[in-house]
Assembly symmetry: C2
Homo-oligomer: 333 residues x 2
């Protein structure tokens, strides 16, 4: 028998239907291996990208030349650009604006390697440091309300270049999903006098059935109302609404945590496509006692279909307790 | 330069970035043709499905035997089942329930044909009639608040069986997307004293740049803030909040409209995968003056990636004006 679960933060229902995993699918699909002819993100090809916005590189190296470990560049095909002002334009019923915003690419390593999880923990920490530093810089732009960092790993997750990279899109408004999450957290705080993430961590550490990994500063869980099979959240154990205020020792530990859980995913599910997103508080808000930044990792094992599009509900065929157990027991080399 | 557009009904922003369509994609992907060994939905194979809930069939034929044109059966691998009651269960922080609901399959034709658009207008009308009749029946179940009808066409849209079919999922709650849409429509009605769909149709008929097809009773548009390339909405020109109250002559005209626009999509984009969803008012609500049922057709030409997952914003590379023009000018055989 299936069950329905409601997300504790937002108004989102998930149908957990493990029996459906047994149905025959007429087409089995595997992620195809890319045939890389040329890697525009590799060391030595710096001229293929726009000039760098940030790099972590050897002290004796020059910008836009080899010698870097992580490099952030503007997206060559930007969805939005940081030009002009955000002015809402009304055309009768409709509201729009010019495409103001920031669209950047975080190149995660100099070598041709498609998968962040195969980098060293220190390299992953460098990537997480670049995230922080870009958020600090973009947060000084009064025109931007938010910047979302996300990763598309594998074709099935929307990647079009197969060198390990993540992206950042800065917007003049707070994206809907984040606004909804903030509102849900605030409501819980007003009703219960505590941060809902604290309550979630407490519940998860008590039951342990959805815990994937526990370190001194972080907890990785498969959330109670996981939208997709093997969804994982990385949540800091101490309060902190803005990721850009993370300290160096947290960054170092987080690098190891992110690498470990992505490796677990790769080993358990044979290098699946996945997305991750970093949710953090909006730029121009003070420290929020009711919110905590976190990573949401979403493997793309099945496709979103009409029901999810039309309803905003999700259909998940793997219980988070089953997923967490498998990931927890997957030994990382 | 790209632009940002806000949906007039819900709080959803879309980034229109036509330049991005020019970027190289390292892996071109085509929908693979299924290799159908056995068609469980074909006429003659009625015993492969659960007993039918409804069929449109020859007067001299028997249930669950050949002689039908459309057949509705319970999903063999249901996400939810119509057993027991919907009782919310709280486990501390978390809220859930047993998997109560309805999950049905509408088999759209007796022959092995994967595409609804290749059926005759009368066959499409039969399908639309089956939708109506199932909603009427399910609406008498006090435990169900809503039933969503949707279609997954093609592997990339989540289809697992390649015989033309749609599905229905009935839920004990109103799905989030519909609730949000209803709230947006009500807010507009309270502010402007009129149905927002009336305002949208008026604006679209005035500019005509996003109109794909116009018939006496329906308008098909690419909406202003289209989430995906070639998104289309079929909207009735007269008010009507509940699809299940549609009249026979509307059904007949709608059959031709749906067939025509899906054919246009097939011809213009070479049989793309797509989803469609029918949005209608919840069962146990009176006729709503501020709402109108409609179909939303969502081609699946690109994949949802991390940004969409994380933000609830969409990135669309084809302006709806360009899409509408192309679809409008596509001649249907």
């Amino acid at each position: 028998m299936s069950e329905l679960r409601k997300d504790p933060i937002v108004n989102r229902w998930v149908m957990m239907a493990p029996e459906r995993a047994e149905r025959p699918i007429q087409i089995a699909e595997r992620q195809r291996q890319p045939n890389i002819e040329f890697d525009p993100f590799a060391e030595g090809n710096e001229s293929e990208t726009a000039p760098e916005l940030l790099s972590i590189r050897r002290a004796d190296s020059e910008p836009n030349k080899p010698g870097w470990r992580v490099r952030v560049v503007p997206n060559k095909y930007p969805a939005v650009q940081r030009i002009g002002e955000f002015e809402r334009r009304h055309e009768g019923l409709y509201e729009g604006t010019c495409g103001f915003g920031a669209h950047e690419v975080i190149i995660e390593c100099p070598q041709t390697e498609p998968n962040l999880s195969r980098l060293s923990p220190q390299q992953v920490t460098d990537v997480l440091t670049a995230y922080r530093d870009r958020l600090i810089e973009l947060g000084t732009d009064h025109r931007l309300a938010y910047a979302m960092i996300f990763k598309n790993q594998g074709t099935l997750a929307g990647a079009s270049v197969h060198h390990a990279h993540s992206q950042l899109i800065g917007t003049p408004f707070v994206p809907f999903t984040v606004a909804e999450e903030l509102a849900g957290c605030q409501e819980y705080f007003e009703q219960h006098g505590r941060d809902i993430f604290e309550a979630i961590l407490e519940a998860e550490l008590h039951s342990r059935s959805r815990v994937v990994l526990e370190t001194p500063r972080f907890l990785v869980i498969c959330p109670y109302a996981s939208r997709v099979a093997y969804e994982m959240w990385i949540v800091p154990r101490e309060p902190g609404s803005h990721y850009e205020r993370i300290g160096s020792s947290d960054l170092e530990e987080l690098g190891g945590v992110l690498k470990t859980v992505l490796r677990k995913l790769d080993i358990a599910l044979d290098d699946p496509a996945f997305n991750y997103v970093l949710h953090s508080a909006p730029f121009h808000q003070p420290r929020l006692p009711h919110y905590r930044w976190h990573f949401e990792i979403l493997p793309r094992l099945t496709r979103l279909a009409g029901f999810e599009w039309g309803s905003g509900c999700y259909l998940n065929e793997v219980l988070p307790e089953v997923a967490a157990n498998r990931l927890r027991e997957t030994i990382v080399d």
